[in-house]
C-alpha cells in the first residue's frame, strides 16, 4: 500500500492505525542550519559559527550532505535582541514573501525574502531539502521539535530518531564530538524530546523552516534570552549531529522502520488575565504550573496566581497539555502558554531512492 506524502493537513482519522507499507522518498541532497533567527536566542548564534569552524577544520566530507550555515538575522544578533523591526520568524508566509519591497518595508521582511531566495523558493522543487532552525525558549521544554505536517515522513522519522538518541544518556559518551565535554557521567542528563505540530497549511506557515521541503525548528530550553548555557548548547549540538546521522542513515538506502510516535497537536493559546483598562497582566503563572510544560491539565488545576492571591484554575472539559509556559517573548503577543492535544500517530517504513 503506497501513500504519497503530502504537505498539508489531513484529518488524523483518515490515517490507518496499522503499520503501513514501505514509502520511497527522494534522497536528501542539501541541508541548512540556521541560527540567530531571534537575535537573543544565543545557542544557535554560537552553534552556527562552531559548525563553520568544524567545516574549515575537517573539510566538506565531514557531513553526509552539503550543509549551508546561516545567521538568519545578523542585525538582531548584533544588538542581542529578538528582532529589529518585526519578528523574522513570522515573515515567511507566501503573502509576505511575495510582497513588494518599498522604503518602509521592515528590515525582517526584506531579510525573509533574501533567505527565501537563498534557501527556497518556498514550495518549489529548488527549495533546500532540510532546514533546521535553532531556537531557545525560557520555558522548560527540553528539546522540542516544531513542524507543520504530520504526514511529512522525513520529519516524523527525524523526530523519532532524535527521541531515541537523546533520551538515552549512554549514547552521548559514544559520540566523539561530545567525548571532551563530560568528565564524568553524572553531569549528563536525559533530555525529554517532543514534537509539536502546527495545524497550518504550508502557504500560511510563517516560520523560516517552512521554506524547506522538510523544515524543523529545534527549540531548546529553559535558557534566558541573552545567555548561552553550556548544557543547552551541548544538547543542541548533539541534536544537529543526530539529524546529520539520520540523513546519512536514510541516504544509505536502508529501510527505516516505522513506529507509533506520540505527538502534540497545537490547539490554542491562553493569555494572562489582564486589566480591562490598562491591559496589564493581573496574574503570574501559578507556581504549580511554572516549569511543568507538557504536563496534563485537568479541570480545576491551577493556571494563574493573581497579585491579590487568588488562584485561577483550568476550566475546560478536555484535558490538554500546556507548553511555552512563561516564554519571555510571548508577553507582547498576549500568550501565557499554548495548549496541545496529545495523539499517537503511526509512521510508515521509508526508504530513500535516487531519482
Amino acid at each position: 500500500m503506497l501513500i504519497q506524502g503530502v504537505l498539508g493537513w489531513q484529518p488524523v482519522s483518515e490515517l490507518p492505525r496499522r503499520s503501513m507499507g514501505l514509502i520511497t522518498l527522494p534522497v536528501i541532497r542539501r541541508m541548512a542550519v540556521c541560527g540567530g533567527t531571534h537575535g537573543n536566542e544565543l545557542t544557535g548564534v554560537y552553534l552556527v559559527p562552531e559548525l563553520e569552524r568544524q567545516r574549515r577544520e575537517k573539510g566538506d566530507t565531514l557531513w553526509p550532505v552539503p550543509v549551508t550555515t546561516v545567521l538568519s538575522n545578523p542585525r538582531a544578533v548584533k544588538e542581542c535582541k529578538r528582532y529589529v523591526n518585526k519578528d523574522l520568524n513570522r515573515c515567511f508566509t507566501s503573502a509576505i514573501l511575495s510582497s513588494p519591497v518599498t522604503d518602509t518595508t521592515p528590515y525582517e521582511v526584506q531579510r525573509a525574502q533574501e533567505l527565501n531566495s537563498m534557501l527556497g523558493p518556498k514550495g518549489t522543487a529548488d527549495a533546500t531539502d532540510i532546514i533546521c532552525d535553532l531556537h531557545n525558549t525560557t520555558a522548560n521544554m527540553g528539546l522540542t521539535v516544531i513542524s507543520y505536517s504530520h504526514t511529512n515522513w522525513v520529519i516524523m522519522h527525524i523526530y523519532k530518531y532524535l527521541q531515541a538518541r537523546l533520551t538515552d544518556p549512554r549514547t552521548w559518551l559514544l559520540d566523539s564530538t561530545c567525548i571532551n565535554c563530560f568528565s564524568s557521567v553524572e553531569k549528563i542528563t536525559k533530555v525529554p524530546v517532543r514534537l509539536i505540530l502546527l495545524n497550518i497549511p504550508i502557504c500560511d506557515a510563517y516560520s523560516l523552516e517552512s521554506v524547506a521541503k522538510h523544515g524543523i525548528s529545534l527549540e531548546v530550553g529553559p535558557q534566558p534570552h541573552g545567555v548561552v548555557r553550556a548544557d543547552i548548547f551541548n544538547v543542541m549540538k548533539e541534536g544537529v549531529n543526530v539529524v546529520l546521522d539520520w540523513i546519512q542513515h536514510f541516504n544509505s538506502g536502508k529501510v527505516i522502520e516505522g513506529a507509533e510516535v506520540d505527538v502534540f497537536m497545537f490547539e490554542k493559546s491562553v493569555d494572562y488575565p489582564r486589566d480591562t483598562e490598562t491591559q496589564n497582566p493581573l496574574a503570574v503563572i501559578h507556581p504549580q504550573l511554572q516549569d511543568q510544560d507538557f504536563c496534563l491539565l485537568q479541570r480545576g488545576d491551577p493556571l494563574f496566581l493573581t497579585f491579590s492571591g487568588e488562584t485561577v484554575g483550568y476550566d475546560e472539559e478536555e484535558p490538554l497539555h500546556p507548553f511555552f509556559i512563561n516564554e519571555a517573548a510571548y508577553y507582547e503577543k498576549g500568550i501565557a502558554f499554548h495548549l496541545a492535544r496529545k495523539k499517537t500517530l503511526v509512521i510508515p517504513n521509508i526508504q530513500a531512492k535516487n531519482d
Binding site: 554560537y46 534566558p224 553550556a230
Partner: protein, 337 residues
C-alpha cells in the same frame, strides 16, 4: 568587641551612613536618627520584572509597605526602559550616579538615563546631603542562580549591617547571601547610592522579561522583613553587636575572547548555577564550543557570583569572584531626639 574600641571604630569610620551625624553615646550602641523616609525602587533595569511588578502593585495600593511613622515611596526609576522591556535606553542607569553625571548641566543632548539620574538625585537625594532619603531598596533580578541576595556598598554602615543580619535571620532556613562591593575599581555608582543607607535586593534565577511567582514572592518577603526591621528600630529596639557572613567582591572574570572580542567559551556545566559555592584552582571554569575544559587558575578558593548573568556579557564579566568575610556589626539603637 571591647567598649572603647567599638566607640572608637564608630567615631573614626565617619561612615554611619552618608550625611548621618554620629551621636556619641555613653552605652555600647551606635545611635542613628529615626528612619523617616524610605524608597523602594523598581525598574532600574526595565526588563527585571519582579521589582517592576511589586512597585506598580504598591503604587496602586501601598498598604503592605506602610509602617508607622515612615514615609515609604515605591518608585519606578527607569520608566522609558520599562516601557520597552529593555535593560536601558542609552546607558545603564545603575552605573549613572557618578559625581560627573549628577553635576552635569541639563540639556537636550544628555543620555536618557543621565537626565533621569539627575531627576532621581533631586527627588531622593541629593547624594551625600542630610536631605537625602534615609534608606533606598533597589529591586533587581539576575539570570544567575544567586537565590536571594542583599548587596551592600560599605562594610562600616552599621545600620545596614544590622538590617541585613535581621533579614537573614527572618528568612532562615531559606538562605539570603550578602554581597559586599567595596572594591575601589569594581564598585559602581548605583541608583540607590543617593540615599544614606543603600541596599540592593537581587533575586534570581529569572530570565529577563519574565515574571516567576516564586522569585516574586521571595522579593516581596525580603522587603517585608526589611520594613519590619525599620519599624522595630524606630520603636526603640536596640540591636546588639553581631557578625554578618558576607562575600566581598574580589575580581571580575571575563570569558575567553578572540581578537574580535567574541566569546570563545561558555561557563562550564560544572560551574553553571553554582553561585556561592567554592571554586578552587583547577576546577572547571569554561567550556569551549568544541568541548574543551578551561580550569580556574587563580590563587583561590573564590566564591563566584553573577555566574552567566545576561547583562554582563557586554560588561566583560562571566562571573565575579568573591571572598568570604565575617563583618562585625556594632550594636545600634535609635538616637534620643
Amino acid at each position: 568587641m571591647q567598649t572603647g574600641l567599638l566607640y572608637n571604630a564608630v567615631q573614626t569610620s565617619g561612615h554611619l551612613g552618608r550625611g548621618t551625624v554620629a551621636m556619641s553615646s555613653p552605652c555600647n550602641a551606635a545611635c542613628f536618627p529615626r528612619v523617616r523616609r524610605v524608597a523602594i525602587f523598581g525598574g532600574t533595569h526595565g526588563n527585571e520584572m519582579s521589582g517592576i511588578t511589586l512597585v506598580n502593585m504598591w503604587m496602586k495600593n501601598g498598604a503592605e509597605v506602610q509602617r508607622n511613622g515612615v514615609l515609604t515611596k515605591p518608585f519606578i526609576t527607569n520608566p522609558g526602559a520599562v516601557e520597552k522591556c529593555t535593560r536601558y535606553i542609552d546607558t545603564d542607569l545603575n552605573r549613572a550616579f557618578t559625581p560627573e553625571n549628577l553635576s552635569t548641566p541639563s540639556g537636550d543632548g544628555l543620555p536618557y538615563e543621565v537626565q533621569r539620574a539627575k531627576e532621581i538625585n533631586q527627588l531622593f537625594g541629593p547624594k551625600g546631603s542630610p536631605d537625602a532619603y534615609d534608606v533606598i531598596f533597589d529591586l533587581h533580578n539576575t539570570t544567575s542562580n544567586m537565590g536571594s541576595t542583599l548587596i551592600l556598598e560599605s562594610s562600616t554602615d552599621h545600620f545596614n549591617l544590622q538590617m541585613v543580619h535581621y533579614i537573614k535571620k527572618a528568612t532562615a532556613p531559606e538562605s539570603c547571601a550578602v554581597l559586599l562591593n567595596e572594591h575601589p575599581q569594581l564598585r559602581y555608582a548605583t541608583t540607590r547610592s543617593v540615599s544614606k543607607h543603600p541596599v540592593g535586593l537581587e533575586v534570581g534565577p529569572q530570565p529577563q522579561g519574565v515574571l516567576r511567582s516564586n522569585i516574586f514572592e521571595s522579593m516581596r518577603m525580603i522587603v517585608k522583613h526589611a520594613l519590619d526591621f525599620i519599624e522595630l528600630f524606630n520603636s526603640g529596639v536596640e540591636f546588639p553587636t553581631c557578625t554578618v557572613e558576607a562575600f566581598r567582591v574580589h575580581e571580575r572574570v571575563d570569558y575567553p575572547r578572540d581578537t574580535n572580542g567574541n566569546i570563545t567559551a561558555m561557563v562550564h556545566p560544572r560551574l553553571q548555577d553554582c553561585d556561592w559555592e567554592p571554586l578552587n584552582p583547577g576546577d572547571p571554569m569554561f567550556q569551549t564550543f568544541d568541548g574543551w575544559s578551561i580550569p580556574y587558575a587563580g590563587d583561590g578558593p573564590v566564591y563566584p557570583a553573577f555566574i552567566n548573568e545576561a547583562a554582563y556579557y557586554e560588561k566583560q564579566q562571566a562571573f565575579v569572584a568573591t571572598r568570604r568575610e565575617t563583618l562585625a556589626a556594632a550594636a545600634i539603637r535609635l538616637a534620643s531626639e
